[in-house]
Symmetry: C2
Subunit: 307 residues, 2 copies
DNA sequence: AAGCAGCATAGAATAATTTTATAAAGGAGT
DNA sequence: ACTCCTTTATAAAATTATTCTATGCTGCTT
């Protein structure tokens, strides 16, 4: 039945959904119930019913039914504008999403551990910006542990880290390679190539705990059966630059990412000491939250990174 | 079942009615399906279902469901503004009508035949305006026939006329009384009181056919058994003022509405000749279309007229 | 007066929404 | 690790809404 117990409709809800408004607008446009029915692919009784329900709801007559035509009342004339506005907005709903998807501008926040944040991302963000319009990049640099926690805890959407810590929330995608190398000041007198066991005897400068670089180094030592405690640690610094500075000053050697000392090696400020018997390769990862949806801009950037 | 054949919904229609938008907005606000369900007096599965349907419709995820909380996606953040706008507009629908009803400003068009339009309405519109704000009155003066036709034909909403012509469309409400009187120039030498039959011998100035005054006069003659053809008509004028002018000039006597010559009688420009043997009372009517709804302003004015 | 055009009404058929009941998944506390 | 708790998902049944067909009514028109 078109109505439920004579004129009263719906249990709790209101009549004014888009559908009803559309019927109203169409009747107003055609000044005819049957023409409106035709346009909307409904039957005339349905249209009648909608109009009546709408009139009941508003407690006012909207159309005067004269024998040959219907005339909208003043009230209908007042309402039609608003009704059309609402319809238009709702129809445009999907377009809003479409527009939004085309839009590659916006604010892109990326978490990164020291090496990726300092030596990898600046180049990539810069070239992404050259291809795509106006993106504001914000690179949050912290150590790997902190970045992973932020991604897991919904504070960041994407991160690039140099360590893989277990977390159910986080999805790891392998990204670029890197290699840990041993560096020393150019004044440091040492053979060009040593065994990993020789490290035990050398003064070492290190990053703090939580650093991906340090963690990788610890993993390598462990694999080689060397106890971290036996190392001769002479300094711990909170940043790669500080470590590099200390090494340049001759405080000791350090194990750092090759990417972080590329320039110093080229100009001879630091020299590399090859380790002949250990694999010092490491992997960087792009991390995202396993259950969160990336905004479009982020997806685009992620695709760019992986290509 | 909440959905009909697994996720596909509705036969022909779209999901985005106000109801769905409200569910979306509530979930967005509370960041919780169950809280939204509570607010909307629905159950949680219903809310789940609406959101899923909406997501299917837009082909994009709106909320990331994490274990303890849900996080709106960027898409949801983009859409929520628009959704709230639409909801607000629809909620405000009834208020628009309310406002409209309180509003007593506007354009009020009244049709009137000569006597009401010239001698009755100006006073009434003026006092109505003193009580109520800013009404723009437009008085369309024409003869009774024309006004009745315009009301019947939807060109006018309200009219005041001095004749009752049959028309199924038109509703007549008795309004003020009037009286037809015989007037003559003050130079015109005649007894103060005559019989209606004496009119046959006098030179008469008249309004055109269609005039309510003339029609009333014809009806009186008919009642008295006097043939209109036997009258000594010496002039026909298209307006009451023209008739009055002609009478003043001594062209003849005329039968006019007492209201239209009130001032002239007072200052002696015209004199009344009493008819001792005929009832010359007449009635004015407020007319409206039987099936049309009067706008609020018109209703107010009508009430004012009838009080 | 019969035919026609246009809206209203009633009841049946169809479709959509909401509910109850239950599952599944992930945290929090013991 | 196990259990409880919270939150969302799923399924089927119940409820409610919408639409349709058929028919009635009214007032023009011829």
């Amino acid at each position: 039945m078109a109505r439920n117990s004579r004129g009263r409709r719906r249990f709790l809800n209101f009549i004014m959904d888009i559908h009803h408004l559309k019927v109203f607008a169409s009747v107003y446009k055609h000044k005819s119930f049957s023409k409106a029915a035709e346009e909307l692919h409904l039957t005339q009784p349905t249209v009648s019913d909608h109009i009546r329900a709408f009139e009941d709801e508003l407690k006012c007559r909207l159309f005067d039914r004269l024998p040959r035509k219907i005339i909208p009342t003043k009230e209908a004339a007042v309402l039609i504008t608003r009704a059309q506005e609402v319809i238009e907005r709702v129809e445009g709903f999907k377009d809003v999403l479409g527009e939004f998807r085309k839009d590659l501008s916006g604010h892109l926040v990326i978490g990164a551990s020291t090496i990726p944040g300092t030596y990898i991302l600046p180049g990539l963000t810069s070239s992404f910006r050259q291809k795509n319009a106006s993106v504001l990049f914000e690179v949050v640099v912290s150590d790997s542990r902190a970045i992973i926690d932020k991604v897991a805890g919904d504070d960041l959407l994407i991160g690039i880290v140099g360590a893989k810590l277990e977390s159910k929330q986080v999805d790891y995608k392998p990204f670029l390679d890197d290699e840990l190398i041993v560096v020393a000041s150019r004044k440091f007198d040492l053979r060009k190539s040593i065994s990993i066991r020789d490290l035990v005897n050398l003064p070492i400068v290190m990053r703090e705990q939580g650093s991906g670089t340090r963690r990788e180094f610890e993993k390598i030592l462990e694999k080689e059966g060397i106890d971290f405690q036996h190392l001769n640690i002479v300094g711990i610094f909170g940043s790669t630059d500080a470590v590099k500075q200390a090494v340049k000053e001759g405080m000791g050697i350090s194990i750092v990412s090759r990417r972080s000392v590329k320039d110093e090696l080229t100009c001879g400020m630091l020299k590399e000491i090859r380790i002949k018997d250990a694999d010092m390769k490491r992997q960087f990862y792009i991390i995202t939250h396993r259950k969160r949806t990336l905004p479009h801009l982020y997806k685009m950037f992620l695709e760019y990174l992986l290509s």
